[in-house]
Amino acid sequence: MGTLVTLNIVLPWVAALIIFLAKKDVITNFLTFLMLPILMLTAYLAYIQPHPALIETPKWVDLAITIYDFGLLAYFFYQGVIRKNVLITVLATIQIVFLIIVLLMMNHSLTPNIYVDNITLMFYLIVAIVGVPIAIFATKYMDYGEKGKHSFVAIVVWFLGVMNFAVSVNNIEWFFALFETTTLASYVMIGFRGDKEAINNSNLALWMNQIGGIAILIALMIFVKIDGFYHFTDLLSHPENVSMAALGFLSLSALVKGAQMPFHKWLLGAMVAPTPVSAILHSATMVKIAPYLILRIAPVIKGTLLAKLLIITTGYVFVVAAIIALTQDNFKKILAYSTISLLGLMMLAAAVGTPIAVTASLILIIFHAFAKGFLFVEAGVLEKVFHVKYINQMRRLIEKAPLTLMFIFFGFLNMTFVPFGTFIGKWMMIEEVSNFLQHGSYILLILYVGAGSAFLSILYMKVLGISVRKAHGIKKTSFVKLPKTFNFVSVWYYVWLLAITVFIAPFIAEFVVPIAKSIAGEPEIYATGLTLHMYNSTLYFWQIFGALILLLLIHVLPYFVKFKADVVHPYNCGENFPRHMETWNFECLAKYEGYFVAFSIALFIMVVVLGGGLL
């Protein structure tokens, strides 16, 4: 197990280093492609090993990580100085001071520093299957008039290694180091283009994420001072005497990393970077640390005031981010808001912490990773090949870019419609919450889930609506030839999503349920054949197939079906046709954005102050 975990972590780092140093097209392309089978194999081999496993590390690693920590913070400090950003400098200084205090306080612990369990292994698989194709995509994307292809691909690949490392650590001090490393990686990637906007947004990402880092350090101080331990496993084995304040700060760092309001701006800022950056931040890495962290501490915080406040906050973000997304006109921004929204739902489900809710959270994490990676890859194709960035440019996309639109359509279907994973997550949440209702609480939660999913549905339908618009009659749709790499990545995601959806019942029962079981106990979910059962409810296989076939027909059939009927112009009551038709921009909602954010700040403070018991 130890070797496999090391391989999973180190291989991307090594590959990234080689790519970075070689700076040759052949090596970059070949090595990135090679990472796909290799990482899938190592992740799979690790998955079939007995787990959970605690792995001892040599002493020098601990020392190296501490030194690395200081190096990293010094780098942040330096960046703050040369970019003349006081906030970054001050936050870096605070972190350095806190880190020193933590190190002085910390006594030696015998608990191993690496802990690999189901969740970790799930993330290995996600990183391998969802993350690596994005790096492959980046190798071609960067050929379209972007500078610094090799260093960029190297950073993307390295990021995957960082993510693998971050989800396997047990020591919270190490976790801090990797948390800040992901911050560094996102900082470098967001600022990659080096223009003014990129620099500003990368600064924003840096200081916001540093707040998360400070929160972890404070949590660490409290853990060490009050409880005397600082490992996740120790935390879980002594749930009764864990300090709530520390958990409050830990969840605060999760909220920051998960770009929950009011800290959502950094994730939106990430869209100025090349599109693979957004793809990787949104799907397999970075923001997924947030639900991961909540899942880690879920058994401890379950049922506490902190969990309830987290539910209120993240549920609020789930709904409000979906509403704000309606007012946006930039395609990548719309996707970003829907990520923020769904991250809220994931964390909400994790914070509820019952077996079924945890299952729902895991399903959402997996499917969101696939669907968002997919959608952002398509957004990159749109941007580079078709020069489309805004939804009003997406007019008549069905004629201009039929294949890409088909993929986007499928991605959107995955985010909300019936047989797909995201729907199953929501369905489980509503059923689970209905059970709680017997106690008269959680009515808010049902409203959150019901309203949020409705808003997200109309968001996707709105975007799809504008892109399927056609001219009169049937013009020949023009198939633009796309690069092989793009097609490979798109088809890769498409096939995976389709395969998992067809076998969703056994997938959930065989793969997700054991993970949820190790976190929160046995959920009452099982599969018979392709039918999914939960409590007394059943999602029959004919329903899954029926919905899947209906939706496949809706998004694929238009390209194949040609009715033999006479074609006429739209009737339109005989009036003139407008040159352009736009879509609603929901201006009436845009003016509330300030209020929404203000309220989220209040909720955010409540989580820390009340949830952490600081009052």
Binding site: I398, T416, F417, V418, F423, W427, E431, V433, S434, L437, Q438, H439, G440, I443, I446, L447, V449, G450, A454, S457, I458, M461, K462, L464, G465, I466, V468, R469, K470, H472, G473, I474, N536, S537, T538, L539, Y540, Q543, G546, A547, L550, L551, L553, I554, L557, P558, K562, F563, A565, D566, V567, V568, P570, Y571, N572, C573, F577, M581, T583, C588
Partner: protein, 276 residues
């Protein structure tokens, strides 16, 4: 068995309901109205017409709407989870919206966008209604609901009332016939369909009648006479409302749903949960 028959015969039955509605509406306006089977006469006439379309995508979505609507009803009647049936209805809305947005006709596109506003108004309420039924009965299974000994409508009267006011939104009745709005946007999503393709859309609407009134019927529990009575009351109420009210703005509809209906249903659920 009866639900299989009901599912298969849904288009026929929906047509009869629609015909009945036209008769009832006419009588309320002191007209004679069309014969009961007028929708079927229309059906045969439309099927006989020369098929004309804008483009295949548009025509196809009309047919998909019909199939999705029928399938949603099948899920409601033959499945065992009401919640899933609610979400299946969204697929039908998707087909309708995609079809309507795909043509270059402002009426159709506007109708599609308004259809989304309808969805945002009724969908959370449908979820709340199903959850309220769960709270009363303890199961999402339609068979359990139909064998429940008590009277759901008496335990969740506010939810029932809220749903009663939601029916006009789902069936495009005044004051909430905003997406169709015949005098304003000439039928919205329907305007560009013709001949057999329009017939598909038209029949889809009939099935929606059955879909909606099945939910009303559930409020009777195992007392089928009560369920039937509720369906009749709801039917008459909706038609009366349709005849006696003017169309509202879509903002008013969304505001009404979110500021009045949803809080009302939520209040009922909270009270019930505390009562238990």
């Amino acid at each position: 068995m009866i639900n299989v028959i009901l599912t298969i015969l849904a288009p026929l039955l929906g047509g009869v309901v629609y015909g009945l509605e036209r008769v009832v509406k006419a009588r309320m306006q002191r007209r004679v109205g069309p014969p009961l089977l007028q929708p079927f006469y229309d059906f045969f006439k439309l099927m006989d017409k020369r098929p004309i379309m804008i483009h295949s995508l548009h025509a196809l979505m009309g047919i998909m709407y019909f199939i999705a609507e029928w399938f949603a009803l099948a899920v409601l009647l033959l499945g065992n989870d009401l919640l899933i049936a609610v979400f299946f209805h969204v697929i039908a809305v998707l087909a309708l919206v995609i079809g309507a947005s795909s043509v270059r006709s402002p009426y159709s596109v506007l109708g599609a966008l308004r259809e989304l506003m309808h969805m945002i108004s009724y969908e959370p309420l449908m979820v709340l209604m199903v959850v309220a039924l769960y709270l009363v009965i303890g199961s999402f299974d339609i068979r359990d609901v139909l064998s429940y000994e008590g009277y759901p409508v008496l335990e969740i009267p506010l939810v029932f009332f809220a749903f009663l006011l939601t029916i006009p939104m789902m069936l495009q009745k005044s004051p909430f016939d905003i997406a169709e709005a015949h005098q304003e946007i000439i039928g919205g999503p329907e305007i560009e369909y013709s001949g057999p393709f329009y017939e598909a859309l038209y029949t889809g609407k009939w099935i929606e009648y059955i879909y909606v009134f099945t939910f009303v019927f559930l409020f009777g529990g195992s007392h089928y006479w009560l369920g039937a009575l509720l369906v009749v009351i709801a039917f008459l109420f909706v038609n009366l409302l349709d005849n006696s009210s003017a169309r509202l703005d879509f903002r008013a509809m969304v505001r009404f749903a979110w500021a009045f209906l949803i809080p009302m249903a939520a209040l009922n659920i909270i009270l019930l949960a505390l009562w238990q």
